[in-house]
């Protein structure tokens, strides 16, 4: 059975000091149901995605409390928590539920509250995406790896530090046009020298901000989709792969998990990405965005910096860099942005029939791809 997205809604990505996760989710769910024509009582499954609820909010299985507080009765509720790919996993689960006929209306909800504690507390939480017994215990930070990878990329391909920041500049330009984006201002390469250093040569300008947010997607089967008020988008397929840890890789500049997942997805579905395909990739750091579009075979290796200018539908919401990275919700924001693009409600017109969301935990440690297609 085919799976369709018939509703989606997001909150503005921000530091929402005045709202708890339930309020954010209520807003995202309200928008999602409103534009789908369905009601809370129609929902069979509530699939919740969060990366750090347990650490930050002291809340195991928030799905139970979301159901209790937001009036979902007789729903099957559960929580998926799989690091930075949580949202992609939640979509895969929902896809399997619909496709198997186990459910016909699944609400996927993602959220994160990264601003509940000051950065030095949250940084420790975020570092849990790395392997604690090897990396975390030594205080190795996710940004340290991004810096090492950036070093290798610049060295191997003779790419300059200044050209890498082009990625972030583009993301901020896209964010300015995206109402739900967090960083709605432009930046320039001139600011690079004054930018706060994180892990040299990486600066704040290269990195995602600290973000709160919630996003929801309503997935249904074909018969429900046909009755929906809005034009559905098909969630065609999900694919993923795991990479070796950084220190075991022969080439730091090749995201081989993303590449392997793409090869399988591409051949199984007979699709090929080009610079004109809408893609929404994980630019946790700008260098990761560049390596991802190379691993997805959109650009030749070492050429991504040039490629960025030729990709009108690259991270139209501003990417993790400028839309922000409310971790457990990020893949749902990505799909929401692609849905807007494909249904003609984005700030830019798109004629393609497919689009792709990419999520990964750390530097390609675990990479996931979600393939979408317009209603045909």
């Amino acid at each position: 059975m085919k799976t369709y997205v018939v509703g989606s809604g997001v909150t503005k990505v921000d530091r929402h000091y005045d709202k708890n996760y339930l309020v954010l989710i209520d807003e995202a769910v309200g928008k999602t149901l409103a534009n789908s024509g369905l009601d809370a009582s129609d929902i069979e499954y509530l699939v919740v995605s969060t990366a750090f609820s347990e650490s930050i909010l002291n809340q195991a299985d928030p799905s139970t409390y979301i159901a209790q507080n937001l009036g979902f009765r007789n729903v099957k509720a559960l929580t998926v928590s799989s690091g930075e790919v949580s949202g992609a996993v939640a979509l895969d689960y929902a896809h399997a539920l619909i496709r198997s006929g186990k459910a016909s209306r699944v609400l996927v909800v993602g959220f994160e509250k990264m601003s509940e504690y000051p950065s030095w507390v949250i940084n420790r939480v975020y570092a849990k995406i790395l392997e604690y017994e090897v990396e975390g215990i030594k205080n190795v930070a996710p940004s340290d790896y991004a810096a090492l990878i950036m070093n290798d990329y610049m060295r191997r391909y003779g790419v300059s530090r200044e050209s890498i920041i082009k990625w972030s500049i583009k993301m901020h330009e896209n964010a300015v046009k995206t109402p739900h984006a967090q960083l709605q201002f432009t930046i320039s390469a001139d600011s690079l020298s004054k930018a706060l250093r994180i892990s040299e040569p990486l600066t704040m300008l290269d990195s995602h901000p600290t973000s709160d947010g919630a996003a929801a997607l309503l997935l249904v089967n074909e018969s429900v989709a046909k009755k929906a008020g809005t034009t559905p988008i098909e969630l065609v397929d999900v694919e993923s792969s795991v990479n070796l840890p950084i220190y075991l890789r022969d080439d730091l500049t090749y995201f081989s998990a993303t590449a392997a997942a793409y090869k399988r997805l591409s051949s199984r579905n007979g699709v090929k990405l080009t610079t004109n395909t809408a893609v929404n990739v994980y630019d946790t750091y700008d260098i990761y965005g560049l390596l991802t579009i190379e691993a997805l075979e959109i650009c030749a290796r070492g050429e991504a910096v040039k490629c960025v200018d030729e990709m009108p539908y690259l991270n139209v919401g501003g990417g993790l860099k400028a839309r922000g990275h409310p971790v457990g919700a990020t893949p749902l924001y990505q799909v929401h942005e692609l849905r807007e693009l494909m249904s003609g409600t984005s700030w830019i017109k798109y004629d393609g029939d497919i689009s792709l969301a990419h999520a990964m935990s750390g530097p390609d440690n675990n990479a996931w791809l979600i393939l979408l297609r317009g209603w045909v």
């Binding site: 030095w120 215990i137 030594k138 070796l244």
Partner: protein
């Protein structure tokens, strides 16, 4: 930061010493004592203790702040290619940033990883320092 005593105790071979896992099937080497070869999945592996010497092949000067880390910033985090072959991630310490470069010879030494706030346990483990020229 507070660590579990039992976790730290179990990890002593990987943080107080450096071991290398050598695969009897594919022949590749990987750092740390491992149950299996991470390249081919084979259980036919041998654990060899490293002498702790190697070459710095990539590094970053890190300002990533976590609770209790303020006084130790910036830190140098890098990849060290051990003389026995594998690459390991670690901190380079006791070093003048101006004298550090890719290719620097380093050796493992026991140093403080972190401590509990404010008067709690201190956790030790291996870091790297530049090899002192004789």
């Amino acid at each position: 930061m507070k660590h579990s005593i039992s976790i730290f105790w179990r990890l002593k071979d990987n943080h107080y010493k450096i071991y290398v896992t050598k695969c009897g099937d594919c022949g590749r080497v990987a750092p740390l004592k491992r149950l299996k070869c991470p390249y081919c999945g084979s259980r036919n592996v041998e654990h060899i203790e490293s002498r702790g010497f190697g070459e710095l092949i990539n590094y970053t000067v890190s300002y990533y702040r976590t609770e209790g880390s303020e006084q130790y910033l910036p830190r140098v985090v890098g990849l060290v290619k051990l003389d026995e072959g594998p690459v390991i991630i670690g901190e380079i310490t006791d070093v003048d940033l101006n004298e550090l470069s890719i290719g620097t010879r380093v050796e493992a030494v026991l140093r403080k990883y972190s401590s509990e706030d404010p008067n709690g346990l201190i956790y030790y483990g291996l870091k790297f320092i530049p090899v002192i020229k004789k």
